[in-house]
Point group: C2
Chain length 198, copies 2
């Protein structure tokens, strides 16, 4: 069997380790890269080289950027709202930024408490969060609405109690455009309890 | 909105152009690469660099490899069967090699005839195929069982008529492990006509 030599085989195996790609789609991706060598493979190779050199984790908030402190932590306008949004990972930070939530700052926990997976408080950036807290007027816990996320939110609320900073969480409710009969009962009953006047 | 600087943004945009990845999965892939910088991002960057330098298209058959003629065209044992298998693209060649079809040689057409997409005979490696044909005892047209594939097969059969080489195509039938009620009627009726004795 010949898949085009060790260089191609290794590229397939590395791409197959990306989330959402398996061996089959990695092979298709590599063939596409080879077909579009000048338009795609060469630029991707260069972009990866640059990213390897440039990307770093922000020492303040845990965001990824090409500088530390990151662009968000370096922007003085983002201090004015007094809001610090706590997220599980950088993907959630990016999602909130895409949603245009405004000039806020973030704190990336690096995960959620999960005794079954061996993730304890010492594995998350909780000491850093407690140390940053007094600079803000409100801390919004934007963790996922999973059991682990909610356990983590309670634990953080306890840890922040001594700081006197107001702690809130994202509202539960019906997603915009969501159809009621696709929602679980917990969401529906929370949405009913938190109903607002028109 | 901040997605971590232009280096990261460009990497996302390039990865989003791979088949099977969109903007969302490209972002997840980039975050995964950053998280696994030493184990995945650095090796992938190096593998791409090496592949950009090493990969070439075989001047004989159109396969991709790190040398031309490719490993398959350079292997004298693959001439013994006298079989040349004609495929639409390199992905099909790789699929046949994975299936272990034996010591054969290939010819990659680079597509199929498709007047609607502006693909004519001059866009495929047909002259090269006619020139290679006399070296083989049988040419198997392993093009896809689509309308374009079958049109291309007929066109090739006509072009090869003058060479005197035997031209065959892959058998139609029920895929191994395939369930009958998921197959279209054309496949089923062909499978019945080509039934074999047990
Ligand atoms: Zn930061
Ligand atoms: Zn070749």
């Amino acid at each position: 069997m010949s898949n085009g030599g060790p260089e191609i085989e290794q590229l397939i195996q590395l791409l197959a380790r990306l989330p959402g790609l398996g061996p089959r789609s990695a092979r298709r991706a590599v063939l596409h890269l080879i077909k579009k060598k000048d338009q795609l493979m060469v630029p991707l190779s260069a972009a990866l080289d640059r990213a390897v050199d440039a990307v770093r984790t922000c020492e303040v908030c845990g965001n990824v950027d090409t500088r530390s402190p990151c662009g968000i932590c370096s922007d003085p306008r983002r201090a004015e709202s007094g809001l610090l949004i706590v997220v599980e990972d950088v993907a959630d930070l990016w999602a909130l930024e895409r949603a245009g939530v405004g000039a806020v700052r973030y704190h990336v926990l690096g995960g959620v408490l999960s005794p079954l997976d061996g993730v304890g408080p010492e594995d998350l950036s909780l000491d850093e969060l407690v140390a940053r807290a007094p600079q803000f007027s409100e801390i919004v816990l934007a963790v996922n609405a999973t059991v682990e996320g909610q356990t983590t939110a309670h634990y953080i609320t306890d840890r922040l109690a001594g700081t006197g900073v107001k702690v809130t969480r994202l509202a539960h409710g019906v997603p915009v455009g969501g159809e009621l009969d696709y929602l679980d009962e917990g969401t529906l009953s929370q949405a009913l309890r938190a109903r607002t006047e028109l």
